[in-house]
């Protein structure tokens, strides 16, 4: 806790503090109190980008959940020996470099890229389909980037589910799907929410993928933050944008806590 206060609360507090001051001409801050930075968030430009980011990151999160859940579920069902292997296999691609993987997607998706070549080779299409430099491509790129962040927490919470609960449900006539929906799913909500947060937030604040895979034509909050710090050298406003992201997420976590408390309510006892 002390560690966190020292290395998390202090720097973030410092920057939170910045949000109430003016930018220096060359970066840094000028200690002159202002609320402008927070007011500025309300400008249509920023509101628009924030909303667009929420939509894109939301789609990414949803897809990650849809793809990651079955994966985590399958892994949790493996024998202990294979579980570890399968789990590591999920993160292994990520021990290479992020930019390298991103470029690989460019190679796959561009007009002269592998996927288009396959499609044309198989006679499915005549002309290349423009896949790269679109919002859809951003979604694929972000999904790829953050899928493990969904799978791991889900695995951790699915792995401990008591199989006899599912047995009880099937015994009461629930189809496997219903048993899943009414028993497994609700009990894995803490893990799923954690995974969703893990995916949603970095997806919002990523700026490389929109740039490289999205062709820079769609920008997200991350690009804005980056530009404020790097190009505008407007740290107070950059911090304001970044903190807005954080505040949004803190709200989500508080809600999550309430939800999972409700799910597992009450002191449990022998």
């Amino acid at each position: 806790m002390i560690y966190l206060i020292l290395f998390m609360a202090l720097p973030v507090g410092l920057l939170a503090f910045y949000t109430f001051f003016k930018r220096g001409r060359f970066g840094g801050i000028v200690f002159e109190f202002t609320l402008d930075n927070w007011v500025k968030l309300l400008e249509p430009l920023y509101v628009g980008v924030i909303l667009q980011s929420i939509v894109l990151a939301g789609i990414v999160t949803l897809l990650a959940l849809l793809i990651g859940y079955p994966m985590a579920y399958a892994i949790a069902g493996l024998s202990p020996k294979w579980r570890t292997v399968a789990l590591i296999a999920v993160v292994l691609p990520f021990w290479t470099n992020f930019l390298i993987r991103t470029y690989a997607w460019i190679l796959l998706l561009n007009n002269a890229g592998w996927v288009n070549q396959w499609l044309q080779g198989l006679g499915i299409t005549d002309a290349p389909i423009s896949m790269l430099y679109t919002p859809q491509a951003i979604v694929v790129g972000l999904l790829y980037m953050y899928l493990p962040l969904m799978v791991l927490p889900l695995y951790a919470s699915l792995q401990q589910l008591d199989p006899s609960l599912r047995e009880a449900a099937t015994n009461l006539g629930a189809t496997p799907w219903r048993a899943f929906r009414t028993i497994t799913l609700p009990l894995s909500i803490p893990g799923a929410l954690t995974g969703c947060i893990f995916v949603f937030v970095p997806a919002m604040s990523n700026f490389v993928i929109p740039e490289l895979i999205g062709g820079g034509k769609t920008i997200m909050v991350g690009n804005l933050v980056r530009d404020q710090f790097f190009e505008a050298r407007d740290w107070p406003f950059g911090a304001t944008l970044a903190l807005l992201l954080t505040i949004l997420l803190v709200i989500v976590i508080v809600v999550q806590t309430a939800v999972s408390r409700r799910l597992t309510e009450g002191p449990r006892r022998g």
Partner: protein
């Protein structure tokens, strides 16, 4: 009679193989780009987008590149250090939060670094280190990575704790084990899958982290992503692809070796 049993009877009824299909599809998705990377590492051309025939020439070049090797070493040190910090602190923090707090705020506070935009954390930490006259180096990156990695471990372990049976801890205390022993012998093993998942995530994220590392490391101690980022400003070269391929190979070998080893010493369950 127990209502929650993490690993109740292994069921004789086999799960349908069908549930493995999405898993395999997921792996295809995860490994397809990696396959491209490996293939392109044998490209004779400098240009990533043009295939000019098979060549092994990038591999020797890679090993000759001191910067890359230094970066790799630094990255492993940082990732290991940060993972160690995160695993220990994250687990303790999750335990503390679950046992001694009720509201969501402290929880949110503990998880926040996982969701703070890198830039904010990176620049904030650099400012802090600078104010405190901390000299930069690998230690400062380890501390910095430790911050967000801890948050990831905390969040995952907390999610796992949500369904934990508290009577096990009670039983342990009842049998005379103090808080520490109870934690080590009973709580920890129960949380193990969550901790493993969290540690894996922490390691993975640290290995590939660029922004925070850039700001908090000494310029003379770049981590691998920093080295690679400066290299790929013109686009990825086959040399970098070769690097990625080797990283992958090394990881696979390490993992298999570790797996073998644990099986030999019989510590896997």
């Amino acid at each position: 009679m127990r209502e929650l049993e993490p690993e109740a009877r292994p069921r004789a009824v086999r799960k349908p193989r069908g549930i493995l299909v999405p898993l395999w599809l997921g792996y295809v998705f995860l490994y397809l780009p990696i396959l491209i990377v490996v293939i392109m590492s044998f490209n004779a051309s400098e240009n990533l987008f043009v295939w000019k025939g098979f060549s092994l020439r990038w591999y020797p070049e890679l090993f000759a590149d001191e910067k890359i090797m230094q970066g790799l070493g630094n990255t492993l040190i940082v990732a290991t250090g940060a993972t160690a910090i995160a695993t220990v602190l994250g687990t303790l923090l999750a335990y503390g939060i679950q046992h001694y707090t009720r509201g969501g705020l402290i929880r949110a506070f503990a998880i926040a670094p996982a969701i703070l935009p890198d830039l904010l954390l990176g620049i904030g930490l650099l400012t802090l280190f600078s104010l405190a006259s901390v000299t930069l180096g690998l230690h400062s990156v380890i501390l910095a990575h430790g911050v967000f990695a801890t948050a990831f471990v905390t969040a995952i372990v907390l999610a796992r704790m949500a369904n934990l049976d508290p009577s096990l801890e009670e039983a342990s205390r009842d049998l005379g084990a103090g808080a520490v022993r109870t934690f080590m012998r009973v709580t920890l093993p129960q949380l193990a899958p969550g901790i493993v998942a969290g540690a894996l995530l922490a390691f993975t994220l640290s290995i590939d982290e660029f922004v925070i590392a850039f700001f908090t490391t000494a310029p003379t101690q770049p981590t691998l992503p920093i080295v690679i980022y400066s290299m790929v400003r013109f686009g990825v070269t086959p040399e970098v692809n070769a690097l990625a391929s080797i990283l992958l190979l090394v990881s696979v070998v390490t993992v298999i070796a570790a797996q073998r080893l644990t099986r030999l010493t019989g510590t896997t369950r």
